[in-house]
């Protein structure tokens, strides 16, 4: 019934200052909720964007010994698709400068499994050439065809990789990748620094991990197996916790706002007892009184919620720019969703807080309410 909405609107206008204060409470609560929600989401997006995570990879590191032996590698290969990797930090002449850089030795056949080429091509098996990571190429202005110098070797750059992000296996963006053969020539390793194991079916990751441990760590522990899936999962869990924590803080301020709405509504029901009695006497139903008060809290919540969510989006923008240095995460659906979450919680809190006062007002006995002075 729209007359009760009209009543609600006018009743709020009777105590403008009080209504404004109640709205301000909701605005602050929703603002906090929205802004913190957006912040949490932006952090999650920015971190996951920088991370290269694949759930179906295991990384096998040597345990106790410095390297994984050829014999153990052969065992791994029998279990699943195993990619041996050697790594070495070294100085290299890149263009006109010399810099410290990570050098990976990998088999040519493994490269397409893990990496993508942006420019040029991968090197061939046994090649003395190299490919370089995107960030490294950009930093030193490296181009396909140029030669770099590592110790006495001068591999030619045949390809530049696509940017991949920080990984738990290899970090190719700032690295040089050379063939197994060239790596042996340079550093003469007697095994592998680690082995990446790719499992076709993500649900079999645990089984493969167990199999590896059973076969290699039978007598004593010689390898430790890092499960990417677990890392992915714990990261997800971590960000879920961050979001819950931030939303928790937002919710507390909203709860405070809810209490103030409750307070304002209780005051109104007491002040207007006589009026409620009159309305009831001349034929307003309990439902009408209930609706009138619920509309009041609905209006407070809707006005506060919309204002708060808009401000929260603005504040989210400022925080994103300030903490993350860019606002691009703001316009993703998962961030914008917090605007609606904020409005919904603002309205919900307000209406919820209004429930009890409205119910109480509707339950007043007309005769007693009328006698109230």
């Amino acid at each position: 019934m729209s007359i009760f909405f009209e009543f609600a609107r006018r009743n709020l206008g009777r105590h403008k200052f009080r209504s404004v204060l109640a709205v301000v409470g909701i605005v602050i609560g929703v603002l906090a909720l929205t802004a913190l929600g957006i912040l949490g989401n932006s952090i999650r997006l920015s971190v996951t964007e920088q991370l290269y995570l694949v759930g179906n990879e295991l990384v096998v590191f040597p345990h106790g010994e410095p390297l994984i032996s050829e014999k153990n590698f052969k065992t791994l290969e029998r279990v699943a698709d195993a990619i041996p990797v050697n790594s070495q930090a070294d100085r290299a002449v890149l263009g006109s400068e010399t810099g410290a850089v990570m050098i990976y030795g990998m088999r040519a056949t493994d490269l397409p499994k893990l990496l993508d080429i942006a420019d040029g091509q991968f090197f061939k098996h046994g090649s003395l050439n190299c490919v370089v990571g995107a960030s490294l190429a950009a930093e030193y202005d490296l181009r396909v065809g140029e030669r770099i110098i590592i110790r006495e070797q001068k591999p030619r750059i045949v390809g530049i990789l696509k940017e991949r992000g920080i990984g738990f296996d290899i970090n190719p963006d700032n690295a040089i990748i050379i063939s197994e053969k060239l790596f042996s020539t340079l550093y003469e390793p007697e095994g592998y620094d680690f082995v990446i194991v790719r499992v076709e079916d993500i649900d079999k990751v645990e089984a493969v991990k167990e199999e590896i441990e059973n076969r290699l760590n039978k007598k004593e522990e010689v390898v430790s197996v890092m499960e990417m899936k677990m890392i992915v999962e714990s990261l997800k869990e971590f960000f879920r916790m961050v979001s819950v924590f931030l939303l928790g803080i937002g919710s507390i301020s909203l709860a405070v706002a809810g209490v103030s709405i409750l307070n304002v509504m209780m005051m109104s029901t007491v002040e207007r007892t006589k009026e409620i009695g009159v309305m009831r006497a001349i034929g307003t139903s309990r439902r009408g009184i209930l609706l009138m008060f619920l509309y009041e809290s609905l209006i407070l919540g809707a006005v506060g919620g919309v204002l708060g969510a808009m401000l929260g989006f603005g504040v989210g923008y400022l925080i994103d720019v300030w903490i993350l240095g860019k606002a691009s995460y703001l316009f993703t659906p998962s961030s914008v969703a917090y605007v609606f979450v904020g409005i919904a919680f603002g309205v919900g809190t307000s209406v919820f807080s209004g429930l009890y006062p409205a119910w109480r007002a509707s339950r007043l006995k007309p005769i007693e309410a009328l006698r109230f002075e």
Binding site: I3, K274, V278, G283, R286
Partner: protein, 223 residues
């Protein structure tokens, strides 16, 4: 035709220091078109009686019939509906709704009954004219009206849904004698046009306008 009938109505208020018998075995009836006043000393139970007739309060024992139908056992919603459709209340303190204009106050019961806004407005204006409120005061809020004007609006509101009975509890209690007279003239005029009216009053002058006077003493009807 009988509009109101009370049979052996008793109302007892239970208080911490014993009980108060506000009404004691009251039986009465009011016919259509009657103009009745209820008089008696303060605390004799006049308001209690009027509220029970108006279905705002329920008796401790006894029966109330409105238009021949028994009231006891009706739900809150049913009583509310009954008040909306068949009762018109006029109070001592006018009790207009302060957020509504005079005209809106009169429209309100009609809207509650589901009348369309346009119609309610038309009828509201008509009623305000009928109770003698100056044209143009319809858009005023109650706080901008004099006591006499407010009571006229309240009477118009009481008439909104064309009720069976008008119940007025000391309608002149807050008005000076001149204004009191004009309000009673208005009620008398309404009665002459067929309205059933029950007025509670202290004032013999007010009672003199009515055709019949019931006297209450200590919750009992006398004489």
């Amino acid at each position: 035709m009988e509009v109101v009938r009370l049979v052996e109505v008793t109302k007892v208020y239970e208080l911490p220091r014993g009980s108060v018998k506000a009404l004691d075995d009251v039986s009465m009836s009011v016919g259509a078109g009657d103009f009745v006043s209820i008089m008696g000393p303060s605390g004799s139970g006049k308001s209690t009686l009027l509220n029970i007739i108006g279905c705002l309060d329920t008796p401790t024992s006894g029966e109330v019939f409105i238009g021949g139908a028994r009231v006891s056992g009706l739900s809150d919603d049913e009583l509310t509906r009954l008040r909306l459709e068949r009762m018109g209340f006029v109070f001592q303190h006018f009790n207009l709704i302060p957020t509504l204009t005079a005209l809106e106050n009169v429209e309100f019961p009609m809207l509650l009954r589901g009348m369309r806004e346009r119609e309610a407005k038309e009828r509201g204006k008509q009623l305000l004219r009928a109770v003698g409120l100056d044209e143009g005061l319809g858009e005023h809020k109650p706080s901008e009206l004099s006591g006499g004007e407010q009571q006229r609006v309240a009477i118009a509101r009481a008439l909104a849904n064309d009720p069976d009975i008008i119940l007025a509890d000391e309608p002149t209690g807050n008005l000076d004698s001149k204004t009191s007279k004009s309000i009673m003239e208005l009620l008398k005029m309404l009665n002459e046009r067929g309205r059933t009216i029950i007025v509670v009053t202290h004032d013999p002058l007010v009672a003199s306008y009515t055709a019949r006077t019931l006297k209450l003493v200590d919750g009992r009807l006398v004489g």
